[in-house]
Subunit: 88 residues, 2 copies
Amino acid sequence: MDYIQILGLVAAFLTTGANLPQTYKVIKTRSTKSLSALSFSMLFLGSITWVIYGIYRNDIPVMIANGLAGSLHGIILFMKLTAKNTKS
Amino acid sequence: MDYIQILGLVAAFLTTGANLPQTYKVIKTRSTKSLSALSFSMLFLGSITWVIYGIYRNDIPVMIANGLAGSLHGIILFMKLTAKNTKS
C-alpha cells in the first residue's frame, strides 16, 4: 500500500467516521433544531447512490464507507423528521 | 459518458450539494446547538485530506467536490465554534 492509498483511507475514515459523533449527539440529546432536513435527505440519497455506484464498479471501499455513512444519515434524518416541534 | 459515470456524478452532486442547505440554515438562523463540533471538524479535515488525495491522483472531480464541501464544512465549523452559549 503506497502513501496515496493511505491518504485516501485516512480521508475516507474521517468523512465516514464524522457521522458517528453527530448521530450520537442527536440520539442522546434528541436535539435536531439546527439540522437541515434537506441536507440530510440529500446525504442519505447520495450515500445510497454511491453504494449503487460502488456495486456497479465492484468497489468494496466505496460500498462499505457509503453504506455506513448512509445508515447514519438515515438515522439522523428519521430523528429530524419525527422530532416534535419543540425548541430543541 | 456511460451510465455508471452519470450515477457517480449524481452521487457526487447529492453528497457535495447537501452541504449547501445546512450552511444556509446555520448562517440564516445562527442556530448551531444540534450540530456536533467533532463531526464537522472531522468532515473539514477529511475534505482537506480528500483534496490532497485528489491532487496526488490528479483527479479533478475529487478535488473540486471536496474543495467545495470542505469550504462549507469550514464555514459551519467556524459558526459552531464562535457561537455564544445560548439556547439556540
